[in-house]
């Protein structure tokens, strides 16, 4: 009896396969290959010796000799300090831009006062400022506001070297340029919050600050996950501001992106295996952040 049913099931399923479905799966398969081939090639290349990189096709794994993890050892050695430096400014810049963006969005959305719209327009305009347009003003600004001089006591009384002033500048810059997009993201989330709930909290006697602290902030967790992941990835991967503010990969305060740019490049040519290994090592923290906030991220994107 049960064999009968399973047999009919199988016939039904086979009957379902028509030209359309075959075409669909082929198309999906090709798209998957199209997206994954570069990553796969990068990964297998990073595991090859220099000689194997030259001798084998880029997408073939090093199955027949030429396998090596030396690239990763070297990459970690070279990039470790850069990654530490990047964390030093990426973490505070991410947290502060998210928090300030959330404050701004709360003030512009759930608190009622005049002229909110023109101010919101300024924030939205901020999202669309191309970074290239601000590079010169930015370097002018930091030559006028000399952070190294302002914070002289840090370099004088602690073992921190004066080059780390650049990281303070990077932090401030990333916060400033992160706030508009964070505000817009939080605002879209806050406009969907119940106004009756806000009014209930006000009637319950909570001040504007307390409403944020006790109602809005705890309910913002999913959006914080989205914004933290987005901002961390942006800031961690940024090369442009790092080039302008820190300028050289040889600085002790150079972020990982600057170090990565110079990795495996020499007069003899490019060491592809090493560069690929470096890329994967440098991408690791953003991956970890994504995994850590993944559930909340999904919830935040859905809402």
């Amino acid at each position: 009896m049960s064999t009968d049913t399973s047999r009919t099931d199988r016939t039904d399923r086979l009957a379902d396969i028509d030209g359309y479905r075959v075409g669909l799966y082929v198309a999906i398969g090709l798209l998957v290959a199209f997206f994954l081939t570069p990553i796969e090639s990068g990964f297998v290349t990073s595991l090859k010796t220099d000689a194997a990189v030259g001798n084998t096709a880029p997408y073939l794994p090093p199955l027949f000799g030429g396998f090596s993890i030396a690239n990763y050892v070297t990459a970690v050695e070279v990039l470790a300090r850069g990654m530490g430096n990047s964390l030093l400014f990426a973490v505070p810049a991410t947290l502060l831009s998210a928090l300030l963006g959330s404050f701004a969005a709360y003030g512009l959305t759930l608190v009622d006062w005049k002229y909110q719209v023109p101010i919101l327009v300024l924030f939205v305009a901020g999202v669309f400022i191309p970074y290239q347009a601000v590079l010169v003003p930015l370097s002018r600004l930091y030559s006028i506001v000399n952070v190294a001089d302002l914070l002289w006591f840090v370099w004088a009384y602690t073992p921190v070297s004066v080059q780390y002033a650049d990281l303070v500048e990077l932090t401030v810059t990333h916060i400033a340029y992160g706030i508009p997009i964070c505000t817009v993201l939080f605002r879209s989330y806050y406009t969907s919050m119940s106004t009756e709930m806000m009014e209930a909290a006000r009637l319950d006697g909570a001040s504007i600050r307390r409403v944020y602290r006790r109602i809005v902030f705890p309910l913002s967790t999913p959006m914080f996950a989205v914004v933290l992941i987005y901002q961390f990835t942006q800031i961690w991967n940024d090369l442009l501001f790092a080039l302008v503010i820190v300028s050289t990969g040889s600085s002790p305060a150079a972020p990982v992106t600057l170090k990565l740019a110079g990795l495996g490049a020499s007069l003899e040519g490019l060491d592809f295996g090493l560069r690929m290994a470096g890329a994967f090592v440098a991408a690791l923290p953003t991956l970890l952040v994504y995994i850590a906030f993944g559930d909340e991220f999904a919830e935040g994107v859905a809402s």
Binding site: E196, A201, R202, L203
Partner: protein, 384 residues
């Protein structure tokens, strides 16, 4: 003492194009200490705006709101000693029921944690929800959320409760149950209450007094039975009561009212009342129309009609009747549920003269209301 007075209260919204919209127009009403006042009207009549002005969520354009002797019109919402129950309940979804109920006390008083704990427990017992204290709003049914929303207002022990259509999100059965419960609760707590609804049944059954609003203006404030039997104008007469009162446009000619379909003889008293009025509207409630199953109207207040549609309700039948002159223009009468009446049947409808209301066409004001002589003879409140 917490008597709430609205004194010539007016709210004007300015539209984006600069035009003014009068949402609440010169509303004056007093709510005695401990009284349950229901503010009722069709949607957009300004009842919610009035409530929100009392709560402090909308500014007052002109007029005053006084709690006792003190004007609260310019106070911040949190300083007014008022608690509000919202239509959507507006519970804080990330907090447990206990935290939801404690929130107001934590924010607005300097009570110790023990006192707050005790107040919350007492309120939860009163509402029969002590077992829900540890749960979050997402885990509760609509009726339970409703209770928590009430509990959140009750723990604060305010001078005034404001309720904005608190029962409209419940299903019909639960709604009538909560209606009774809310009334009992309000009597127990003896807190001045202002309750907004568009549902005339809620208004009739719950209010000590009801205030009927239309287009921002107060039409009538009185006990439910006053509004039912002695409506101040045609709007109140039509809004209160289900099915609605029947209206017939008429002109006065001597001692008769002439309508498109019938002539109606006026009594001496009615003739005095309509003296000087050009057009009047005759109103009669469906339950006052006497329907007799024969086809021989005697003239006077009896008319020959044909049954158009019958809506059986179980306890009564709503019968739609058409006059011979114009069968498409029907009016409604209610008869006992056990009585059998079929569509197409010929019946005689009688409009007893003591049940007739007359309204002035120009102003809509009531010129003559039905006689309550029978009820007054019995020495009791008139019963519906």
């Amino acid at each position: 003492m917490a008597q709430l007075s609205l004194d010539h209260l007016t709210k004007v919204f300015t539209d984006d194009d600069g035009s003014d919209i009068v949402a609440v127009d010169d509303v004056t009403v007093n709510i005695e200490d401990g009284e349950f006042l229901v503010l009722v009207g069709p949607s957009g009549c300004g009842k919610s705006t009035t409530l929100r002005m009392v709560a402090g969520l909308e500014t007052v354009t002109s007029g005053d709101i006084r709690l006792g002797e003190e004007s609260i019109a310019d106070q911040k919402p949190q300083d007014r000693d008022i608690a509000m129950v919202f239509q959507s309940y507006a519970l804080y979804p990330h907090m447990t029921v206990r935290e939801n109920m404690s929130f107001g006390l934590e924010e607005s008083t300097d009570m110790s944690d023990d006192e707050i704990h005790e107040r919350v427990e007492d309120a939860a017992d009163l509402l029969g929800i002590p077992e829900l204290l540890g749960r979050k709003p997402g885990e509760l049914s609509g009726g339970q959320r409703q209770r928590v929303a009430l509990g959140r207002a009750i723990v604060r022990d305010p001078e005034v409760f404001l309720m904005d259509e608190p029962l409209s999100n419940l299903d019909a059965k639960l709604r009538s149950q909560m209606r009774t419960e809310l009334q009992r609760l309000q009597e127990d707590l003896d807190t001045t209450t202002m309750y907004v609804t568009h549902d005339q049944t809620e208004a009739m059954t719950m209010g000590d007094r009801i205030a009927v609003l239309d287009a921002g203006e107060l039409q009538q404030a009185g006990t439910p039975l006053e509004c039912y039997h002695r409506p101040a104008n045609r709007f109140v007469a039509g809004f209160i009561g289900e099915p609605s009162m029947n209206f017939f446009d008429a002109t006065v000619e001597g001692d008769r009212l002439i309508t498109d379909a019938f002539d109606y003889p006026l009594t001496e008293e009615m003739r005095e009342a309509v003296d000087g009025a050009n057009g009047v509207t005759l109103g009669i409630r469906p339950e006052d129309i006497e329907v007799a199953a024969d086809d021989s109207p005697t003239g006077g207040d009896e008319f020959g009609t044909t049954v158009d549609v019958v809506e059986p309700m179980g306890n009564e039948n709503a019968v739609y009747l058409g006059f011979d002159e114009d069968p498409t223009d029907t009016f409604v009468a209610t008869v006992g549920g056990m009585r059998r009446i079929d569509a197409g049947e010929r019946v005689v409808a009688c409009f007893p003269s003591d049940a007739i209301h007359l309204f002035d066409d120009a102003s809509g004001d009531a010129l003559h209301n039905r006689s309550l002589a029978d009820a007054e003879d019995a020495g009791a409140e008139p019963r519906v």
